[in-house]
C-alpha cells in the first residue's frame, strides 16, 4: 500500500512554492460572473505556468441545463476574454479536458449525492485522492443551503488520505450576528482549518509586499511608531458607480462593502506587530490584535469621527453621470452611503495618539488604493527658521493601480538661493518587474489547494471587524439625517475635509 502522504520527489525545488497535490475543485455558481471572469482564467493561467497540479478536476455545479462540452466552450470564451495570458489551443484543450459540468439546484439533495459519486469516480480514475476544494462563488444567501447539503451528503468529510476545504467569497455576513451565524454554519460543515475566506485584496502583490517592506527593511521598522509618524491615510477611491450591483449595494453600502474587509485588512497589515513567524496563524494573530486595539466608535463619537456621504449628479472624465439615487435599482430616497471617511485610533503602545484616516468612495475622480504613512516634521529650526515651509516625509504604498512605493522627501532646489522643495523617490512594480504580475485569484486558489491560509481571513478577524463596524452602522441607523451629498467627480464631501482638518492634517491629493 503506497504511502499517500509521500511527496513527489520531482516536485522538490521545481517551483518557488510547494506544488499542491492533485485535487478536485468544485465551483458552486459555475455559470456566474466570478467563475467566468476570475476563477477559470486564474486556473488556466496556473496551468499555463505549470503550477497547477496534474491532474486537477474542475467541476462546475449550477442549475442550468447543459453538458460538459457546452460548459467548456463557454468557459473557453471567457478565458480568451479575461485571461492575462494568451490562449493556446493545445493548452486550453488539455486544461478543458479536466472540466466537467454537474447540473443541480443548490437545494436538491440528489444533486449532491450524484456529485459525491462523480467525485469518487474521478478520484478512482484520475488519482485525485479524495482531495476536494469547494468554492462558493454564489450570493451569500445561497451559502446555508449549499453548506447544509454538502454536510448532509457527506462531502464535507474527507475520504481517507484526502481533504475537504471550502472557499467562501465575501461578504462574510452583513453584521456581527449574521457573520456569527454564517461562521457557525460553515463550522458545522467544515473545521476552521479547512475554511478559506477570500479577501482578494490580500492576494494582490502590493498588499503582500507591505509585510516585506516593513519587516525586511530595517530602516522602516524603527520609525514605524507614534514617535515618528503623525498619521496614516488609507484610501480606496473609484470613479465607478454601482454598475448594475444596486440590489447588493443598497443593502451593503460602502461601510460594509469596503471598510469592514478590504480597508480594515490594509489597516491591520500596516499597524500590526512583527509576527512570530510567517505561518498563517502567527500573522493572523497579530492582525486580530490590531482589530481588538481599535478604539470603538460609538454614540457621539460616530458623528465626530465618521462621515458618510452619497454621490449626487456630476461628471467623471468630462462625462455627465447620474446621482446615486437616479441609478437603476436604487430607491429614490435611498440613504445608502457611497462614501465613508473615518478617523480611527489604535490603542496600543506603538500607535497611541496616531490617527488612522480611512476613506473609501464611489464616483471619485480616479481609481486609487493606497496607504500613506505621514511622518512627523523635522524640528522647527534651520530651514524652517528661515521662513520656509517644508513638507513632511510621506511613505506611500500604492496597492492599485500602478502598484509601487514612493517616499516624499525634501531637497535643495539647484541655484544660489537656499530653497527646499519636495521630491519623490518612486518605485513602480510595473517599471521594475514588468507586467506579468499574477492575478490575486491565482495566488489565492493555489494557496487554498496547498492548505496555506495566510492570505485568508480567520473567523475571529472577521467577527472583530464586524464588531467594530456594527457600532458605526448602529449610530448611523439611529440618525439617518446626517448623510452628506457630494458631487460625482469630486473628492467627497466637505464634512470629510473638516474631519481630517480637525486633526491638523489634510487628505492627500491623489
Amino acid at each position: 500500500m503506497p504511502d499517500r502522504k509521500q511527496e513527489n520527489p520531482l516536485r522538490v525545488g521545481l517551483a518557488n512554492r510547494a506544488m499542491p497535490e492533485p485535487c478536485s475543485v468544485v465551483i458552486f455558481g459555475a455559470t456566474g460572473d466570478l467563475t467566468h471572469r476570475k476563477l477559470v482564467p486564474a486556473l488556466y493561467n496556473l496551468a499555463v505556468d505549470g503550477t497547477l497540479p496534474q491532474p486537477v478536476n474542475v467541476v462546475g455545479f449550477a442549475r442550468r441545463d447543459k453538458d460538459d462540452a457546452t460548459f467548456r466552450a463557454e468557459l473557453g470564451e471567457a478565458a480568451a476574454r479575461f485571461s492575462r495570458q494568451r490562449i493556446s489551443e493545445d493548452t486550453w484543450a488539455a486544461f478543458a479536458g479536466q472540466i466537467a459540468y454537474h447540473r443541480g439546484a443548490f437545494d436538491d439533495a440528489d444533486a449532491y449525492r450524484s456529485l459525491a459519486e462523480r467525485l469518487d469516480r474521478l478520484d478512482r480514475e484520475r488519482g485525485t485522492g479524495g482531495r476536494r476544494l469547494f468554492y462558493l462563488a454564489v450570493a451569500p444567501d445561497q451559502f446555508p443551503v449549499i453548506l447544509e447539503n454538502l454536510r448532509a451528503s457527506g462531502l464535507t468529510r474527507a475520504p481517507s488520505g484526502g481533504w475537504a476545504r471550502v472557499i467562501v467569497e465575501k461578504p462574510f455576513g452583513t453584521d456581527l450576528p449574521s457573520a456569527r451565524a454564517l461562521n457557525e454554519l460553515v463550522e458545522g460543515a467544515f473545521p476552521e482549518s479547512e475554511t478559506y475566506r477570500i479577501d482578494h485584496y490580500l492576494g494582490k502583490e502590493t498588499a503582500q509586499n507591505i509585510m516585506v517592506l516593513r519587516f525586511a527593511n530595517a530602516i522602516f521598522e524603527h520609525l514605524w511608531n507614534a514617535r515618528y509618524i503623525s498619521h496614516v491615510q488609507i484610501t480606496a477611491s473609484e470613479p465607478l458607480g454601482v454598475e448594475g450591483r444596486a440590489g447588493y449595494y443598497e443593502k451593503s453600502g460602502a461601510l460594509r462593502d469596503m471598510v469592514q474587509n478590504h480597508l480594515l485588512q490594509l489597516l491591520c497589515l500596516t499597524a500590526m506587530e512583527p509576527p512570530a513567524g510567517l505561518d498563517a496563524d502567527s500573522i493572523r494573530d497579530e492582525k486580530v490584535k490590531v482589530l481588538r486595539s481599535l478604539r470603538p466608535l460609538e454614540g457621539a463619537d460616530v458623528a465626530r469621527y465618521a462621515v458618510r456621504a452619497q454621490y449626487g449628479a456630476g461628471a467623471i472624465n468630462g462625462k455627465r453621470v447620474a446621482a446615486y439615487r437616479d441609478e437603476a435599482g436604487v430607491a429614490p430616497e435611498s440613504a445608502t452611503e457611497t462614501y465613508v471617511a473615518l478617523q480611527l485610533a489604535i490603542e496600543n503602545w506603538r500607535w497611541a495618539g496616531v490617527p488612522f484616516f480611512l476613506r473609501v468612495g464611489k464616483r471619485l475622480p480616479k481609481a486609487a488604493t493606497e496607504i500613506a504613512v505621514h511622518f512627523k516634521g523635522a524640528p522647527p529650526v534651520l530651514f524652517h527658521a528661515a521662513g520656509q515651509s517644508i513638507d513632511d516625509n510621506v511613505l506611500v504604498i500604492r496597492i492599485q493601480p500602478d502598484e509601487g512605493v514612493s517616499l516624499r522627501m525634501s531637497a535643495k532646489l539647484p541655484g544660489a538661493a537656499l530653497r527646499v522643495e519636495p521630491v519623490k523617490m518612486d518605485f513602480h512594480y510595473g517599471t521594475s518587474f514588468g507586467k506579468a504580475t499574477p492575478e490575486a485569484y491565482e495566488r489565492l486558489l493555489l494557496d487554498a489547494m496547498s492548505g496555506d491560509a495566510t492570505l485568508f481571513a480567520r473567523r475571529d478577524e472577521v467577527e472583530e471587524a464586524w464588531k467594530f463596524i456594527d457600532r458605526i452602522r448602529q449610530a448611523w441607523d439611529e440618525s439617518p439625517d446626517d448623510l452628506a451629498i457630494y458631487s460625482a467627480g469630486t473628492w467627497g464631501p466637505t464634512e470629510a475635509d473638516e474631519l481630517i482638518k480637525r486633526a491638523g492634517a489634510s487628505w492627500r491629493r491623489l
Partner: protein
C-alpha cells in the same frame, strides 16, 4: 569594399572617460518626458562580432521587462591594433503614460584592451545593484577572480560547449569564488523547465510515486546537438530518485541497475524530444510537439492517463527574462550538473 563595423547601431560614440557625463547629457536632453529606470546591471560579453546587433536588439526587448543598465562588450583579444571604443544608447518603452528607459553602454575591446575587461565592468556599474553577467564565450582555464567574484548571477549556455566536462568544472570554480558565491544560471537548464514540469506532473499521484522503485530504464530522445541537455535531465532524475549515474547505466542505493539511453532524434529542433521511464507494467512518457509536451502515464491495473504540459520557454529573450526574474540559487541545477558531469 570596406568591412562593416560590428558596432554599427550600438548608439552614440563616446570617449570612454566621458561615458557618465554623456549619459547625464542624454537624460538632460530627454527632459521629464523619459524616466531612467534600473534594477540591475546586465553585462553581455561576446567575442563574436556578428553577435553585437542581435544582442543590442535583445537588450531592447529585455529592458521592457527588466529595467537595467546594460553593458555590451565585444572583445577581440587577437585583433590588432589594440584599441578600446565605447558607445551609449537608450532603450525606451511606454509603461502606461510614462516612457521608461534603460541605458546601454557598448564597448569594443581589441587586442590587449580586452585584458581591461574587469576595469571596464567595475567602473561603469550602477552602484549597489546586482550584477548579472551573460558570458557568451568559452570559459578560459584561468578564471579572472577579480571579475568573477563580483558577479551575482552568471548566465551562460552549456548547450554550445564543445567540452561540457571542462565547462562545468570552470563554472563550478567560479561559483566557489568570493563571499557571496555567484549563482550559476545555465540557459540550457532553463530550457529544461517545461520537460521537468511535464515529467514531475506524471508523478503527482501516490500510485505513480510508488512505481518509482520499479523503473528499469530511461530513454531520452534529444534534438541534434542537445546531448548536454539530455544528460542534465538525466542528472536531475538521478539526483531526485537517489540514483548514481555511471555511463549508460544508473545504480540505485541497493545496487539494482537502470538502463539509460540518450539518442539524438531528428524529429525536431527541440532540446528534449521525448523521455520515457519504464518498468514492469509502468510507463511515464513525455513527447514533444511544437507547443507542448504530450504526457502519458500507464500504471499497473489503472486506466492510461493522458495530459499535456506547457513546453516552456525556449527563446533567449524568454529565458533571460525568466532568469532575471528568478531569485534563489538553483540548487536543483547544482545537484543535476554534479550528478551528470561529476568532477
Amino acid at each position: 569594399m570596406s568591412a562593416v563595423d560590428p558596432m554599427e547601431g550600438a548608439g552614440l560614440p563616446v570617449e570612454i572617460g566621458r561615458i557618465d557625463r554623456e549619459l547625464g547629457r542624454l537624460w538632460e536632453e530627454a527632459g521629464e518626458s523619459k524616466t531612467r529606470a534600473s534594477l540591475l546591471n546586465l553585462v553581455l560579453y561576446t567575442e563574436d562580432p556578428a553577435a553585437v546587433a542581435p544582442n543590442t536588439n535583445l537588450i531592447s526587448e529585455l529592458a521592457t521587462e527588466h529595467a537595467c543598465r546594460a553593458i555590451l562588450i565585444l572583445a577581440e583579444p587577437a585583433a590588432s591594433p589594440t584599441r578600446a571604443r565605447a558607445w551609449i544608447n537608450a532603450h525606451c518603452h511606454f509603461a502606461g503614460k510614462r516612457e521608461i528607459c534603460s541605458e546601454q553602454i557598448s564597448f569594443h575591446l581589441q587586442g590587449e584592451a580586452a585584458d581591461a575587461l574587469p576595469g571596464i565592468v567595475f567602473s561603469h556599474l550602477d552602484s549597489d545593484l546586482p550584477l548579472c553577467l551573460w558570458w557568451q564565450a568559452g570559459f578560459r582555464e584561468n578564471v579572472d577572480e577579480k571579475l568573477w567574484a563580483w558577479v551575482d548571477r552568471l548566465l551562460f549556455d552549456s548547450a554550445v560547449w564543445t567540452d561540457p566536462a571542462r565547462g562545468f568544472a570552470a563554472t563550478r570554480a567560479i561559483a566557489r569564488l568570493g563571499d557571496r558565491r555567484t549563482v550559476l544560471a545555465d540557459l540550457n537548464w532553463a530550457r529544461l523547465l517545461g520537460a521537468r514540469f511535464a515529467l514531475a506532473g506524471l508523478f503527482d499521484s501516490p500510485a505513480a510515486i510508488a512505481a518509482i522503485p520499479s523503473i528499469e530504464s530511461v530513454r531520452i530522445g534529444c534534438g541534434p546537438g542537445h546531448s548536454t541537455a539530455a544528460r542534465l535531465l538525466l542528472g536531475w532524475l538521478a539526483s531526485h530518485f537517489g540514483w548514481k549515474l555511471e555511463g549508460s547505466r544508473a545504480l540505485r542505493a541497493g545496487g539494482t541497475e537502470i538502463r539509460l539511453e540518450i539518442a539524438e532524434e531528428a524529429a525536431g529542433s527541440w532540446g528534449i524530444v521525448s523521455c520515457e521511464l519504464a518498468g514492469p507494467g509502468f510507463s511515464a512518457r513525455i513527447a514533444r510537439s511544437p507547443a507542448h509536451y504530450d504526457c502519458r502515464l500507464l500504471l499497473p491495473g489503472q486506466p492510461a492517463q493522458h495530459t499535456t504540459a506547457a513546453a516552456g520557454r525556449e527563446s533567449f529573450r524568454d529565458l533571460i527574462i525568466s532568469e532575471l526574474a528568478r531569485g534563489g540559487r538553483h540548487g536543483q541545477y547544482r545537484e543535476a550538473a554534479a550528478a551528470a558531469f561529476p568532477g
